[in-house]
């Protein structure tokens, strides 16, 4: 048994480090309450332990032990449910909610991170098991961490579209950002306030895939939510006029965001919108089909 001490220990160490590293990198996706950190670190530790005992278990011909991996998968699906439920509950108190799609995306990321931890731990312990070089196995662990970080990065709005400042103006009671209609604002007082403090940006999709993605309401809600999270909002429960709204130009497919931020800074808003993650659930690729390519030209 002692011969596996180092193998399992290194696996657990690298796996837990991986989880800690991934907790650090998700500042926008999760508020990071201390309790949340404890929960995810413990689950990460368990995932690491499961990953690192898999190979020694096989080496000892304890094949039944491997079925624990199935148990782990079940456990981590539970993580997704837990994240989804708690974020959805918190969403009700938000002035500008994240929206179901964004929450689903975040929950999925949290589940998937545990699998990455398991794979990292498995790789680390495997290398140590076969080579008996602790240093090499640690390096493998770091390499896996780097690769998974790179692979899991996901796209942001800035990758699929051009974001530029837009001009807010009124056509009668109708608020517009450039040529895109946003909403009808009745009160003259509110119109003045909006012109004084509001900001607008226009998002031009780079191709048909991006256009379809930006049409998704969940994706648009995510854009409004991130803009508010970064720049704040002047909206309160009795001023629905200041709700950030994302509307599209139905002819071209470009998207306009209107918001009344607490910090009026157009460069900040453009930068925030460019960094909004493209939601996995909103991703569309009509250009991958033949019919889509025919329609595109």
């Amino acid at each position: 048994m002692e011969q596996y001490g180092m193998t399992i220990g290194l696996g657990i160490l690298m796996g837990t480090l991986a989880r800690a590293y991934m907790l650090r990198s998700d500042y926008r996706q999760y508020p990071g309450y201390p309790h949340g950190y404890v929960t995810h670190m413990s689950l990460g530790f368990i995932a690491a332990a499961l990953g690192s005992v898999a190979l020694p278990a096989i080496a000892e011909k304890e094949f039944a032990a491997v079925t624990f991996l199935a148990l782990a998968a079940q456990q981590f699906r539970e993580v997704r449910n837990m994240e989804r439920e708690s974020l959805a509950a918190l969403d009700e108190a938000e002035l500008v909610p994240r929206g179901k799609d964004y929450i689903e995306g975040i929950a999925r990321v949290f589940e998937q991170r545990n699998y990455l931890v398991m794979v990292t731990a498995l790789a680390t312990s495997a290398v140590h098991h076969f080579t008996r070089w602790p240093l090499l196995s640690l390096l493998t662990g770091f390499a896996f961490l780097g690769v998974s970080e790179y692979l899991m990065k996901g796209k942001v709005i800035g990758d699929i579209a051009e974001v530029e400042a837009g001009q807010l103006h009124f056509a009668g009671p109708l608020l517009m950002v450039n040529e895109i209609e946003i909403m009808n604002v009745g009160l003259p007082k509110m119109r003045e306030k909006i012109l004084r403090d509001g900001l607008g940006v226009v998002i031009h999709p780079k191709n048909d895939n991006a256009r379809a993605t930006l049409s998704n309401m969940g994706q648009r809600q995510a854009i409004a939510n991130v803009a508010t999270a970064v720049l704040g909002t002047k909206k309160d429960v009795d001023t629905p006029e200041f709700t950030p709204i994302v509307r599209k130009n139905i002819d071209v497919g470009s998207i306009a965001l209107f918001c009344v931020p607490a910090e009026k800074d157009i460069d900040g808003l453009v930068a925030a919108v460019e960094r909004v993650p493209v939601l996995e659930s909103a991703r569309r690729a009509p250009l991958k089909t033949k019919a889509g390519r025919i329609a595109a030209d």
Partner: protein
Amino acid sequence: MAKDKLLAVVTLNKEAVGGDVPIFFASTEEEQARIAGTLAQVMKAMVHDVGNGVYVIVKH
């Protein structure tokens, strides 16, 4: 979206409105804006300008 609800109408033009929504009459545009603003604030709703001297208050 389906939860949008028309709560009240504030009008300068008595001929233009009718029906079973609460209707408020105003004699000047300032009065109309003031009434609509107060109602919207109380009911946490939004004022829209229909264009013919009629404001509608809608909960979104």
